[in-house]
Symmetry: C2
Subunit: 245 residues, 2 copies
């Protein structure tokens, strides 16, 4: 599995993904699930993938036109006029790949499905954030739903529902994401470190801070450790439900 | 779906279940998922069911011997010598019901599977807690895993992993369960109020407090409301992950 979250905040977009991939519980690897295309001053597009790794790698390769010789590559994703068109392009590519391998030949025990979160900005337009399904269709984040998750979404969802605020600062948002990821990492072995982050600042039209949080990162560990204590303190502050002892 | 949790604490066992059942999103009902058999001074057995409602109702009816005339009923679950044997009896009954309806005749789009949490105490022995699978086999809670969940387990799991302590008091445990249920209720419409609770005190060998928390219960609502604020306060206490603003 996977855990990816993207937030659409007033200040811009934040993407965070884990890097664990597994084919069975005894075949675990680290793989990048976050990809960014940039034309400084003109567009920034970031994509996070969840699902079948062969499918998502094929989609990214096709988007990069890696099927062509390097000199002939001219990725369409760098030319579509809007992010809506980018979502359509990615959706079509995804649908095509799923259909190619899922439609004929030997059948596999797992499906070839994948889900993609895509967001970014093109000059003259607002930042936008989309969730793209294996059928090729997609939905967009709005003020009522300012975030998308894929993969193992449930463990880390309650804290996002409770605490996410589109006006929050970048450090506050990163801290919230660290907590959401920490809850997921603690509960599910199919989600694993390191974690990739991209912080895109609205209207910057250039790659923002991109970094990786490795296992045993002392700052992440401090958040994780303190969160356990803070939760217990938070519980202790609550009123009791009236029962005898 | 469903959400059920059972805790095995030093002071005894606590069972909590929701009551929502649905056949499609437009066919929602309230149904009891918690059942208790008691012979005061001799045994108390509580069972919580998750999964196909026809299956779980059939299992409970068979355990109650409702297939026989009232005068002839002599439920075996009241006679098995140990809780291990009770788990075996329930597992066999469950497996038999699943096989009866799942094995032949028209096939349904959903499976007939169900999962059962069972716990209690028989005189002269310790309280025990089991999770019983549709295949009829089962596992027992121990000191490393002092709780079982069934149904929509993921939303409410992180807080249990973080805060559960087998030495905790009943009011502390009920409050923790309220928070775990609240996170699940907020995130998933297939889990719904009211909530049933049974607090079994170790060595009492009689039914403990049994009550139902209805929608808009003011004490539950107070916990839910305060939890949102307490979580935000807890987040605010955490160290930041070092990023620019």
């Amino acid at each position: 599995m996977t855990y990816c979250v993207a937030l659409k905040l007033d200040h811009g977009l934040i993407f965070m993904s884990d890097t664990r991939t597994n084919a069975g519980i005894d075949n675990i690897s680290v793989v990048r699930k976050m990809f960014t295309w940039t034309e400084p001053g003109e567009r920034v597009i970031t994509l996070m993938t969840a699902g079948n790794l062969a499918t998502t790698q094929a989609v990214v390769s096709l988007l990069n036109e890696r099927s062509m010789r390097p000199a002939e590559r001219d990725p369409t994703i760098m030319q579509v006029p809007t992010l809506f068109e980018a979502a359509r392009l990615i959706g079509d590519t995804l649908k095509e790949v799923v259909a190619t391998y899922g439609g004929s030949g030997p059948t596999a025990s797992s499906t070839f499905d994948a889900t993609i979160i895509m967001g970014g900005q093109i000059t003259g337009m607002e930042p936008r954030l989309f969730m793209i399904y294996p059928e090729g269709n997609f939905v967009e984040a709005g003020p009522e739903t300012p975030f998308f998750q894929t993969g193992e979404t449930k463990y880390g969802r309650p804290i996002l529902l409770r605490a996410l605020d589109t006006a929050m600062s970048v450090p506050d948002a990163i801290r919230l994401l660290c907590v959401s990821f920490d809850s997921t990492l603690k509960a599910n072995l199919s989600v694993g470190m390191p974690l990739d982050i991209h912080i895109y600042k609205a209207d910057s039209l250039t790659e923002g801070q991109m970094f990786r949080i490795e296992s045993h990162d002392p700052d992440f560990t401090a958040i994780s450790d303190r969160w356990g204590d803070a939760l217990k303190d938070a519980l202790a502050q609550l009123p009791y439900y009236p029962v005898g002892s």
